[in-house]
Structure formats: structure tokens, C-alpha cells
């Protein structure tokens, strides 16, 4: 989190996350490059440039696969949510590893070309009309360009500047990027492998990523109600203290109705930071805390505590015979709405 783009609240967990990330990446590369070149069963002797290129390429693939799994795993099981915390750092590191892979490839396979080496990447193989022998390099180039766009637009400024929904749509690039990486590997290095181990790893990774994304998307699939006027959310007694009920509004937006003791308040479910699901968070120290990155809001006015300046819309509520209803028209972000009193013991008859 940042105030005026100066990082604050950099806690031990975040330091630990980044440290683990760096150690894990370093360990992978060390094992691949120095410790176990003998067990990688290269059919022909290879020089250090090729060996390094393979190490960084394999590392980038594994990192990208893990990144792609974190999102759906967090939606399927809340225990994976902590992995989301510094996922952007994970992404930036992956882009750097992929760039290093490109550096080794460029300065070996294309370094001795009669034309400029960048031009050689695009012109060395132009068999776009066939699958066998297809210029798989183009998938790698696309993936690298996409990873650079994603990593260079990961700073908090971009989310505020582009708005979270536009930023999110831009970052959907990660999906064609992963597909391009799999195509790059399948039509590239796997065409020349006698050993089936790498093939199994790549195919299992692709199946895992695809399955997790479909499972998470199916879990979230709901149809917005077609009603107008105040919307029934559910029994007030079903809302646990410090937790929320999430309701889908006719326009497709979501509202989170929170209980704080015997008071109920409603705020937008989308965090101002990355549109994380606030309703899946809980109230800590009087503020609802986003489960994705820990941004906090006062549930009565949708404002982050000072010195933070984030604001989210609030909603008007009423409770009729123990049932919570919400006005689907949001108030402007930061608008105070008096909480509705509803004791925990009150139950629907």
C-alpha cells in the first residue's frame, strides 16, 4: 500500500513473501545450471549459452504457471489468499527471468546472422503456413512483450490512473500470454526432446491452469436479479459479526452488507485498489479489510483511514422483520450512511 505513492505498511509477511520468491527463483536456477546439468539428459552436448537459456526459460514457465494458479486457487479456497498479496512482484520477477531467457537466445542463436539480430528473430523462419516447423519464436516474442507490458504497468499508479476495471482488462493479457508460452514450448523445444519428462510437466501444467480457471469461473457464475427497487439481501441474523453478506444487484454490481456488533452497513464489494472482493474480507480494528491486499475502509462512509485517500461507494439499507434490504442505487464514494441497528439475536420467524 502507498500514500502519495510512497510505500507504507510493508510488513514482515510481505518481506517474507519477496524473500521466498527470490530464494525460490535463485534455487531453481542454481539447481538447473550448476547442480544438476547431468540429470537433464541433453541428447547432444550444449554450450553454456544454450544451457542458461534453457534454465531461464524453464524457470519463467514454472513461475508463470504458479502465478496463473494463484488466482483461481484463491477463489476456490480462501487459504490460498495470502499468495495473492505480492503476486505483482512475482509477475515482475517472471518478466525479468523471461527477458534473461530472451537475452541468451538472442546472443547465441541470432548473434551470428548477417542481418540485425532483432530482425533475424522475425525473419529467420517464416513458415507461418505450416504447423510442423512453425516459427515458434513469434509466440515467445508475443509472450515477452506482453509480460513487459504487464510488469511495467503493475505499479499502484497505473491502477488509479487507468481505473481498476480497465487495468484488470489490460492484465487479462496474461491469458493469451500463457497460451503463447505453451505454444512456444510445444512447437519449440519439445519438438526436439527424447525425454518425456518435460512434455509431461508442460502438458500437466496446461491442464492444471485450464481446469482451475474453469472451476473458479463456474463457482462464481451467477445471474443478476431482474427486479427493480429495494433488493432483498437475506436475514440479518445470517451475517456474522465482522463479516458480510454479498448481494448481486440488477446492474451486475455487488454490494457487501457488513455487521459490526449490532450495526449493519453496506458498501460496494469492489475495493478501490484492484476491485478485490471486500465482502469476503472482515472487519479488523473497526475497518473492513480487503482479502486481496489489505486495503481498509470504514463501513459507514467507505473511506480509508487517514493518511490513505481511497473511497468506495456506500449503499442505503433497511431491515424489515429481520430481513435486510438494500437500495440498488449507490451513494457517491465516501458518503456517510448511518448504520442500521439490528441485534445479532434478531431472527426471521
Amino acid at each position: 500500500m502507498s500514500v502519495k505513492y510512497v510505500p507504507v505498511q510493508w510488513n514482515r509477511f510481505k518481506w517474507g513473501y519477496d524473500a521466498l520468491l527470490l530464494i525460490g527463483t535463485g534455487l531453481f536456477l542454481w539447481i538447473f545450471i550448476d547442480l544438476a546439468p547431468g540429470v537433464l539428459s541433453h541428447e547432444r552436448p550444449i554450450n553454456p549459452q544454450i544451457h542458461n537459456a534453457r534454465a531461464f526459460g524453464a524457470c519463467a514457465f514454472v513461475m508463470l504457471t504458479v502465478i496463473l494458479c494463484i488466482g483461481p486457487l484463491s477463489r476456490l479456497d480462501r487459504r490460498f489468499l495470502p499468495l495473492l498479496y505480492n503476486r505483482r512482484h512475482f509477475g515482475v520477477l517472471t518478466a525479468m527471468v523471461a527477458l534473461t531467457h530472451f537475452y541468451f537466445i538472442l546472443n547465441w542463436y541470432f548473434a551470428f546472422s548477417p542481418v540485425d539480430k532483432f530482425e533475424a528473430v522475425l525473419s529467420a523462419n517464416t513458415n507461418y503456413d505450416r504447423v510442423s516447423g512453425f516459427p515458434f519464436e513469434i509466440f515467445g516474442v508475443f509472450a515477452l512483450m506482453s509480460l513487459l507490458v504487464l510488469s511495467t504497468t503493475s505499479h499502484d499508479f497505473w491502477m488509479k490512473f487507468l481505473t481498476p476495471p480497465v487495468w484488470k482488462r489490460l492484465h487479462y493479457l496474461i491469458y493469451p500470454t500463457y497460451a503463447a508460452v505453451v505454444a512456444h514450448v510445444m512447437l519449440g523445444t519439445l519438438q526436439d526432446q527424447q525425454d518425456q519428462g518435460l512434455t509431461v510437466i508442460v502438458v500437466v501444467s496446461a491442464i492444471l491452469v485450464a481446469t482451475l480457471h474453469i472451476a473458479a469461473a463456474l463457482k462464481e457464475r451467477v445471474t443478476p436479479p431482474q427486479t427493480s427497487g429495494w433488493l432483498r439481501v437475506g436475514p440479518a441474523a445470517d451475517i456474522a459479526d465482522g463479516r458480510a453478506l454479498i448481494a448481486l444487484l440488477p446492474g451486475g454490481d455487488r454490494v457487501a452488507v457488513f455487521r459490526h456488533g449490532d450495526k449493519l452497513s453496506a458498501i460496494a464489494n469492489a475495493c478501490a485498489h484492484q476491485n478485490g472482493p471486500l465482502g469476503e474480507g472482515r472487519i479488523l480494528n473497526c475497518f473492513v479489510t480487503c482479502p486481496w491486499h489489505g486495503f481498509q475502509y470504514d463501513v459507514t462512509n467507505g473511506r480509508s483511514p487517514a493518511p490513505f485517500t481511497e473511497k468506495i461507494p456506500t449503499y442505503n439499507l433497511r431491515v424489515d422483520e429481520g430481513v435486510v434490504f438494500v437500495d440498488p442505487d449507490p451513494n457517491a464514494p465516501g458518503t456517510f450512511v448511518p448504520p442500521v441497528i439490528s441485534p445479532l439475536a434478531e431472527r426471521v420467524s
Partner: protein
């Protein structure tokens, strides 16, 4: 000039245009459209690589924010409805890549005689 050479030239010009936009945006624009940026300078160099790559998007947002035509509702509408279509498309693309790669692989599932893809010109 070859098609590849033209693409490299376009990329170079794209980056030059991005550098111009970065210079203007980080010295003039950012203070006008983002109050949190006023007086904050250390983070600005971090934005340069992103602006070089997506400068048309930067210009679009800059113009939009200058015009004050933005609806605040739009900030709180995550594209959740796209999750399932995106997941299906991703699965299809991955399946296609895997099947294509395995189908044309010359040494899989059994060892076969290598096939020459194209003749070498004398």
C-alpha cells in the same frame, strides 16, 4: 527493406513516441490529473517503461481525465462476467497448442525417421 526490418523500425518509432509522451506526461500531465502525484517525484521514473509501451492508452486516459468526463461508477465494476468466457478460451487455446505440438512432433509417440521440412537451396 524486409517486413521484419519494417516491424523493427515501427517498434523503434513507437518507443521514441513513447519517450516524448513520457516526458510530457511526467512533467506536466501527471500533476494535473492526479492530486496524489503532486510533490511525489521518486516514483515517476518507475512509470517510464510502462508509458513507452502503452503510450496511446496514457494519452487516452490523460485526455479523458482532463475533460472530467469520467463517471465514478465505472471504477467499481470489475469485469467479473468475463471470467467464464476467458477461462473457456484459455482452455481451448492451451488444448490447441498442446495437441498441435504433440501431433507434429517427429519423435513422439514412437521413434520415427526424421523428416526434412524444406529443401536447402543450392
Amino acid at each position: 527493406m524486409t517486413a521484419a526490418g519494417t516491424l523493427i523500425d515501427i517498434a523503434a518509432w513507437w518507443l521514441i513516441a513513447g519517450a516524448v509522451v513520457a516526458g510530457l506526461f511526467l512533467t506536466i500531465g501527471i500533476d494535473r490529473i492526479d492530486e496524489d502525484s503532486r510533490g511525489a517525484y521518486a516514483f515517476r521514473p518507475l512509470l517510464i517503461p510502462g508509458i513507452l509501451l502503452i503510450w496511446p492508452m496514457v494519452l487516452w486516459r490523460w485526455i479523458r481525465l482532463e475533460g472530467r468526463s469520467e463517471q465514478w461508477h465505472a471504477r467499481y465494476r470489475p469485469p467479473r462476467a468475463a471470467h467464464l468466457p476467458v477461462a473457456i478460451l484459455l482452455a481451448a487455446a492451451l488444448g490447441l497448442a498442446v495437441i498441435a505440438g504433440l501431433n507434429v512432433r517427429q519423435t513422439w509417440p514412437a521413434q520415427t525417421v526424421p523428416e526434412r521440412l524444406s529443401k536447402v537451396e543450392p
